[in-house]
């Protein structure tokens, strides 16, 4: 077994366990921290797959910005521990059953369609240099320039939307 395979297995196990921790944890803060761990594991997967720019974006945007926003809202609202409301009794078994069906379905498709799976060779040193970021940027700013510009409008709309939604009405103290 080669070292990269051992790394892959360790990362896969920690990614899946942290996802399980997110789903099972009682406290919202712990769930958020499990999600950060999961994002970090996936970022290292991106490095293994020779996508260093995406890996760093993952860390800065997801683990940095988005999770800080989550933690900020959790602490702002003070909902670290919510009283467990009475759940509908058949809901949990049904959800677990449906998820099992989804997983089995994905597994069957995976092993039927990808029987002759390709081996992903380790990216050579070339991939992990500025060259890969350069080619990504060339593609983004030539072929995908219009979607990139539309993205800026999307972010502007999201920003205005967030401000409008959380703005307190004057006089109506909430």
């Amino acid at each position: 077994m080669n070292p990269i395979m051992i790394l892959f297995i360790v990362l896969a196990v920690s990614a899946i366990l942290s996802a399980l921790g997110l789903v099972m944890s009682r406290s919202a803060i712990y769930a958020a921290l499990f999600l950060v761990l999961n994002f970090a594991c996936v970022a290292i997967f991106y490095l293994i797959l020779g996508a260093p720019f995406i890996a760093l974006t993952q860390i800065t945007v997801y683990a940095g910005a988005i999770m800080v926003l989550f933690l900020f809202v959790i602490m702002l609202l003070g909902v670290e521990k919510l009283p467990g409301s009475k759940a509908i009794p058949w809901q949990r078994p049904l959800a677990i059953g449906l998820s099992a069906v989804l997983l089995v379905e994905a597994g069957v498709l995976l092993f039927q369609r990808l029987q002759n799976s390709v081996n992903l060779a380790q990216p050579d040193a070339q991939v992990n240099t500025m060259e890969s970021i350069r080619s990504l940027a060339l593609m983004l700013f030539n072929q995908y320039l219009l979607p990139f510009e539309i993205t800026s409008i999307l972010l502007l709309v999201a920003m205005i939307g967030a401000i409008v939604l959380t703005k307190q009405e004057k006089g109506a103290a909430g």
């Binding site: 990269i4 789903v23 991106y46 995406i54 926003l69 809202v73 609202l77 995908y144």
Partner: protein, 103 residues
């Protein structure tokens, strides 16, 4: 072969993470954790994108992941604002409590 991992393994991890996210959306009643589970599902899809991009040796998959991240950021900003607004009016973010429209 030295230093290789089958594509299947990455897709399997992605499928498991996606299922975990779906399970989280279905069984948790805390709106914030439901939101985090959606992030987990987006992340699983991104992993599959990058794995396939590597397998076919094209960059388009990575470009798409870039856009998915942007959309996720916008979605989280608006979604958390909605959660704050709902918490202000109902003093709860339990999704079972949001039943004002129930007849």
């Amino acid at each position: 072969m030295e230093g290789t991992i089958p594509l299947n393994y990455f897709i399997a991890v992605s499928a498991i993470l996606f299922t975990m996210g779906a399970l989280g959306v279905l069984i948790r009643r805390n709106a914030l954790i439901v939101f985090m589970s959606i992030e987990l599902m987006l992340n699983a899809a991104n992993l599959a994108f990058v794995a396939f991009a590597r397998s076919y040796d094209v960059l388009t998959g990575q470009i798409f992941v870039f856009f998915v991240m942007t959309v996720a950021a916008a979605e989280v900003a608006v979604g958390l604002a909605l959660i704050v607004a709902i918490f202000r009016s109902k003093h709860s973010i339990d999704v079972d409590q949001m039943s004002s429209l129930k007849g």
